[in-house]
């Protein structure tokens, strides 16, 4: 679906979608805080415009905002995401450990986060880490064959 959206509009579009969902959540909640949804819509609009303008600049940030990153910029984004995931996993583990220690009931969000990050890591290994094995030539196949154990 993203390929149909011009690159420069992709990030703002995702931003708008997330902002509207957030605003809708406040609206659905009702109560005396309904006006937060209006503030969320205004904030989302402003943020999306800022993101769109940033996407037109000739900087690394602009390339990311405009969805036109090259290999180096993608690598930086990838490392940043990996760091964020590591921090999330470590923090959730610490939170879960603390919740267990004090027998608190608020430990389950940490457990869920920890499980999701752990499962995400395994999912990543499954998707990207296992390369299809090629056929070894005769010499290599011979060297990799484990000698049979005679009883």
């Amino acid at each position: 679906m993203m390929t149909f959206i011009p690159p420069r509009l992709r990030k703002p579009a995702v931003y708008v979608l997330a902002g509207l969902l957030f605003a809708a959540a406040w609206l659905v909640q009702g109560g005396h805080l309904w006006f937060v949804s209006i503030m969320a819509v205004i904030g989302t609009a402003a943020g999306a415009v800022r993101l769109y303008r940033l996407g037109g600049t000739d900087t690394d940030e602009g390339a990311r905002a405009g969805s036109r990153t090259d290999e180096r910029q993608q690598l930086v984004s990838l490392r940043s995401r990996a760091l964020a995931c590591n921090l999330a996993a470590a923090t959730s583990f610490l939170g879960l450990t603390a919740a267990i220690a004090v027998k608190a009931a608020w430990g389950w969000p940490f457990l869920v986060t920890f499980l999701i990050t752990g499962y995400g890591y395994l999912l990543g290994l499954g998707n990207y880490g296992v390369a299809e094995e090629g056929t070894p030539d005769d010499e290599d196949a011979g060297s990799q064959t484990r000698p049979s154990v005679s009883s």
Binding site: D60, A63, D70, E71, R72, Q73
Partner: protein
């Protein structure tokens, strides 16, 4: 767009290097006098690297040896020699201008595919470019 450096304009220095290659071939009896004169004429009349490469083809090593040798900041040097701006090079390589700057400053080592693209663009080997 990326037709390599063959379509780029050759400088006087490039034509002189090609002539030097032809001279060396003539001295080593790899070219007859008539051939040598004809080749020199063609070399001096060459406007692009592709034309220069055609003149020296089959006589000596590829034109890359006629090129100025690659040095530590090869990319910046090669770009300067060819009078290409960082933005133009970035566009030709399909990367950002910032990436070109970082590669030239030695602060980013490109991936193998990009290294090959850069080397092809300048008509050099990857080893000569980044080695």
């Amino acid at each position: 767009m990326n037709e390599g450096r063959g379509g780029l304009r050759a400088s006087d220095a490039d034509r002189e290097r090609a002539v030097e290659v032809l001279k060396a071939a003539f001295v080593q009896d790899r070219l007859a006098k008539a051939e040598f004169e004809a080749h020199v004429g063609r070399a001096l009349a060459s406007r692009t690297y592709a034309e220069l490469a055609a003149v020296t083809a089959g006589i000596a090593a590829p034109l890359s040896t006629v090129q100025p040798p690659a040095t530590p900041s090869q990319m910046a040097e090669q770009r300067t020699i060819r009078k290409i701006s960082q933005a133009e090079l970035a566009e030709a390589l399909g990367v950002s201008r910032q990436t070109v700057i970082l590669i030239e400053n030695g602060r980013y080592m490109p991936s193998l595919p990009l290294a090959f693209t850069i080397a092809r663009f300048f008509g050099l080997t990857v080893d000569g470019m980044f080695g």
